[in-house]
Symmetry: D2
Subunit: 362 residues, 4 copies
């Protein structure tokens, strides 16, 4: 099977190259780049030398020759490629935000500043969080090519931390708010140099940014609503605050979830352990979610270069607030790895294929 | 004036040495160390060579020869030195937690695992957050030597972010909770090597630790209660979550404060700017608090090696939650710098003396 | 095939676990630890959760049940295990320095402060640098179990940079000296916390250490002599200076090699390119050596988590000095990866088995 | 006295602002910026808030109002400003390379690609390495305004390590070469974002760059020749290799100096200690050079934000090669600090004025 990647020369694209080049179900890659067409990927990324060697071609050539297409382009430019893929009968996995809002064009337009070019495409696109939509993806892909809106990095980490609490009815239904306080490594800013990510400006410093205005806010909100609907619970608004940490990879979300009265049992340890067990049970068949043993705290360093989402569970001493901490590699489970996981589901591969890395501590 | 430092060879102690050695009101230093007595401070810290040169002596010698005594010892071992200083008629500034709880021995015992050795000392000790207690320190020190419980690093950053909101009556009085989500650099762990702070274990990783169990929780709680009392407002419980960031210095606190109904005006920008103005007005005479201009976000890198506390203000789009972000250098405003500030107040020096560093961006 | 690892809980040991757990020829692992016997490896390294799960057993149990034994113990304690392995008929790959000097007990004693316990074992041990000794290892292993002295990290990077120059007769035979100026990441210091590797002491700083006294000096010297002998050239003494860089993984060696008269052609570019071609030709069949294209400079970040040794070639403008820069991951090609490569040779596996990682840029 | 800075918004310029704003002899600053004219420096660098507040003006305004002018512009654009300053009767300290080669226009043209615009200006300019040219600067400035070519960062660190060896006749006069192997922090690349200094491209990696082609090579060579001439010794060519280390500040140079026969006494420790004493004696009156005690190795972290140059001395075990390691803060002694030191000399201030920072370890 030939996998095609449009936008292969960006950071998310290069991670796709890294992962797919060792995927047992992928026989070859077709790499596309608008700006670097004609170059070799291993000249752009000399770390690939002797392992990966492909020319960068025009996006159209990618679609023409691929059995599945990944798009790692910026927001707002990929719809035409999605259409071309579908027309050709090939599934399309989009790592940008273009297909994350399905029919809700208004939210997309509000936050991303442009309307849909092909609104029809969005009526059947699927939000590619496998822990939420695996079955929908599987079913849809069984009968026709699909468009997957691959989730954002923060929304992935946030949603996986909130999902079991919503599903199990732990979340206070009253006038409550979920707070997602998150930190990201700097690869999240992409490959193009800019002042905020210039080494001397961000090294050895921890900062907050885009308070209340980060585009992942509506995506997290939407996921909470979807999940609440799915389990017949009331939705809860979210406040999302991103921070920048002086490291390359990783996202850590500390999620404050107000507990429904009584569940916290005034802060008893056993109530907290029970909640931990609920989380562990909820995710017991998930190949990439690790509910950490009591006493082990989530750390981005432990999921480095892996598709894992680590989760540690705590509760305040009054039993009113659950604090769930999730850690992912923003470039893997937060981008390229999750895209490969979606491909595995679409293609009926083992979901772990190409994603079986053993995380190194350092 | 001779300033004495007990525990001069630890990280906080060495910062005191650095700051006091250039303080215009300090003619000489007396340095004490239990474990390294007999060595020279510049052999322990060769960065001091050609600038600072003092022998490390027994703590008793320090008290005997000093006009003011700083103690940068671990928790639980400094009370006797405080007593000796007071008996000698000399003020004592303690950077440990021993004098941060004044008469509330129970809280101290619960969280630090030991009773007070000299309970009487704690009836007149003063919590050394100048922005809260400047006048009390000044008045007390005018008539007798004082004991200062120098605040913890997280409580300093948290309390300065909450104080104006409490004083101005912005905080929702209902069944609300303040959340302090914080990240610290690794110098906060002190000079003694341990696995958590071993470079390969913490570099390039962001992690959460001591969720719900960090000893700064009761100190923050106590500060909120004190501040609420001071301004005749109801107190609000706090949830505090510390994280470890891969950098040397700095603490950043993101503080979520539920707003009293109406104040947020459904998220209008003007309401938010008004709150920002309240903060700016509240701190307008404070030499070390900078309420940042709109659009400038707090970052630890901008207060490096300075005694500043930077504050940026935001509000969620519904106007229900204020998010205040504060940044300090944990070793300066969070420890040694604040201790020097307290000395300046006690000694009637200009409060900026020895603390006039211009922060470098890198 | 069962692979056993003694000292599995150290950093080099844990890298062996990571690499061998995904090796297609290894059916199971047996892990040994003297200090942590009884624990599970995934409790010591929670990054392994859901991927690797093994108890830590006594070293003797490892030897009893394994088809090949790796030892990642400190220097000076592994000889008895080597003997036990050989007695049992199983090859032994030692990552310590104990078997790097073969019959030259005097050098070992001088630099490591102890004599050989079992001198006989050292008469047939082989220095495990495949690029130098592949055939010797293959031949010996074909008829009997072998002991491999797995090279040190610096000597690996240094020797691979010098080998072609020696083999091709480029090195000035006169009164010349080769200088190896090298920098290492901090995992090279191992898992036990100590002040030099305490985050605040080494982060954001670059330093020199053990000038002229690092134990890898005699190992590099010995390799140069061996290589010179092999190719019938005079040996050249080496000066080796290690530095500590604020990063986790990686070694970069900048190697200054005085050129034999005439070869440098007064600094002509074509002479330099010719030398580059000699290097490329010399290593053309090596699976893990990449002579970089002209214009691409060696960087440790490009070999991260891989078994590659990258080499870039330059010459001074007078054509008198060749400067060869080599980059490896100190934990992979400099330790565990090279050990696996040696196992592959011994066991007649494809030499790339378990070592086919595609390096990520970050 | 009013100090003017042209190019105040770059990194070196902002360090000048930081240092000069606390200089007791400087009453006010005039800041110039071509690209940011009209903005306030504290808006460009919010770390300056509450400490430093100046508008950025046109360069011409700076010269018109200043008693001394610093230029921190890129290479090749400052000569006209130097001329204007001199015409106005005011000394000019240029941090670019434009005045580092004095009358040797050919070398400048070869390496910097342009001729001198005002050749006459270069006949009396002085290379501003105080340890070499203090008296020349003092004498010249006593009678007329001067132009100072402030040294490059690498040449400063390299020259200070080589100077005593040359002066004391330690350097082998034969067919020998001095090797300067150096590593720099990333602020050396300046404020403008570019791919090489984009956080994910350089963090957690150590790399070599511009081997044999860095523009500091001719400057180091020239310094060696000047120093050799000064002391009546033969000059020695240099090979210079710069590396990039993942840190903000600092340069460390490891300098290999072939010893004149006999001096090394076959590697005896006493010969090495004697050389160390020669270095210490040579620099005994220098306010900013610290020859480190035996056993203390140079580290950039120990000179952070200070004007010190630390030097540690070693010798190979055969006594043939001296290895001198020097560490400076590239932004201070390697740029702005040295410029202030030159101003102090010109203005007859205490040479330590404004440069009395006590370096922090972290």
């Amino acid at each position: 099977m030939v996998a095609g990647i449009i936008g292969a020369a960006g950071y998310a694209g290069s991670e796709l190259v890294r992962l797919l080049s060792r995927h047992s179900g992928v026989t070859s890659l077709l790499l596309g780049s608008v700006s670097l067409e004609g170059e070799q990927i291993e000249d752009v990324y000399p770390n690939f030398l002797n392992r990966v060697s492909f020319p960068l071609k025009k996006p159209d050539d990618i679609i023409a020759g691929s059995d599945i297409v990944f798009s790692a382009l910026p927001h707002g430019v990929g719809e035409a490629y999605a259409k071309a893929s579908l027309d050709k009968g090939v599934s399309f996995i989009d790592l940008s935000a273009d297909f994350r809002f399905d029919a809700d064009e208004e939210t997309f337009r509000t936050w991303y500043g442009k309307p849909y070019t092909f609104p029809d495409l969005h009526t059947n696109s699927i939000y590619g969080l496998p822990e939420l939509n695996r079955q929908r993806i599987k079913t849809a892909a069984a009968s026709a090519p699909v468009i997957i809106g691959n989730p954002g990095c923060y929304p992935t980490a946030a949603s996986l931390g909130i999902l079991p609490a919503l599903a199990e009815g732990l979340v206070s239904g009253g006038n409550s708010t979920i707070i997602v306080d998150a930190a990201s490594g700097i690869t999240g800013g992409g490959r193009e140099p800019q002042r905020s990510f210039h080494f001397p400006e961000c090294s050895d410093s921890f900062s907050v940014y885009k308070v209340g205005s980060h585009r992942h806010t509506p995506e997290i909100n939407r996921n909470i609503t979807t999940m609440a609907d799915r389990f017949g619970k009331p939705s809860v608004p979210v406040i999302f605050t991103p921070h920048l940490a002086p490291m390359n990879r990783g996202i850590l979300c500390t999620i404050y979830i107000p507990l429904e009265k009584g569940i916290g049992a005034n802060g008893s340890t056993s109530a907290m352990l029970e909640i931990r067990e609920l989380y562990a049970a909820f995710y017991k068949d998930e190949p990439f979610v690790r509910v950490l043993p009591q006493g082990v705290m989530a750390a981005t360093g432990r999921v480095r270069q892996s598709n894992f989402c680590d989760i540690s569970i705590n509760m305040d001493h009054r039993g009113e607030m659950l604090s769930v901490v999730t850690a992912i590699d923003n470039m893997v489970k937060g981008a390229a790895g999750q895209a490969v996981q979606n491909m595995n589901i679409i293609m009926n591969f083992d979901e772990r294929s190409g994603l079986d890395a053993v995380p190194a501590l350092f």
